[in-house]
Symmetry: C2
Subunit: 190 residues, 2 copies
């Protein structure tokens, strides 16, 4: 296999697309897509999202000490993408996109009602990294549309149909075919 150096670049394949939900000082809801983020700890369950200081959401998270992370399904790709082009400073993106901001139960931040999974987070650490600030939030609750739960009540990613992001060429993909259940592999290899 011949390898080529691509230089120092911010790449991992794939990344998720997380809509960070916040209220501004006037209580206006905002949502912005973060592709630099994910789970960072199991106990306490925590997720991280990295945001630039000039994003409106940055001020909102600092103000309220909390945020939500909603996972859009692939049918909301255009709305998701628009949220990354527009700024909450200039307009209410929820109104522009006919999306419904519903107040989270445990934190002072909005969920995107139409998205199948939403995660409520209390800010626990703020890490300065350079162009981006990483906000780490302890998960207080996860809410899921009952339509994406399996018969055991577990969220089923094949029903969620999350966006899968390619950070190199900035493209959205869908979820592919299931390859295997890790637990099945565990039994085989124990």
């Amino acid at each position: 296999m011949e390898k080529r150096s691509l230089g120092a670049r911010a790449l991992v394949f794939p990344t998720p697309v997380i809509i960070v939900g916040t209220y501004d000082a006037n209580g206006r809801p905002n949502g912005m897509p973060a592709t630099w983020g994910g789970v960072c700890c199991s106990d306490p369950p925590s997720i991280a999202v990295s945001i630039r200081a000039d994003n409106y959401s940055y001020d909102n998270i600092k103000l309220h000490g909390c945020f939500t992370a909603s996972i859009p399904s692939e049918r909301y790709m255009v709305e998701t993408h628009y949220m990354g082009l527009a700024s909450g400073r200039d307009n209410n993106k929820f109104e522009s996109l006919s999306l419904t901001p519903s107040r989270a139960e445990y934190v002072n931040a909005p969920l995107v009602e139409e998205f199948p999974v939403s995660i409520e987070c209390r800010l626990s650490q703020t890490i300065e990294l350079g162009s981006h600030t990483q906000f780490i939030g302890v998960v207080l609750d996860v809410k899921a549309d009952i339509a994406v739960l399996d018969t055991q009540g577990e969220p089923d990613i094949a029903l969620i149909k999350p966006l899968v992001f390619d950070p190199a060429k900035r493209r959205y993909f869908g979820l592919g075919a299931p390859l295997s259940k890790a637990s099945a592999l565990s039994r085989r290899m124990d």
Copy 2:
């Protein structure tokens, strides 16, 4: 849409599967899959991986102050999964799996030669989060198999075929169909 509370859980959909490459004190290569991780900063380009303190890789990263992040293609799902079941304390996983550890160019850590993308990282911050420690690494170089580069020399995720992980039911998926190029959406919505 009826939503159900699932409680406080560590979930984001999807997560990547990152093979963290390190050497131990004797220079023996190790690789472990991390699904808690991703890009966390654009400038300096940085990635984060979260690891438990009892993982062998934890000691190795602390020892050498660096690590690599290799992205397995879906054809290496079984090898990837095995790396998560075995410990580098007991055996050389590279040998067990007939994978080739090649020394990174800029850091003292091994790359998985057979995997299409490898990222060389110098440890920049260590964040204690609870069950997991988040290691943040500044990317010094990305290396890619020329077979996964497009005609412009850019890595093409559709050729990389990374694993896509479902943290709720711990299953591996492939990459799905391309939905859209973000730049195409930008033009339409500008």
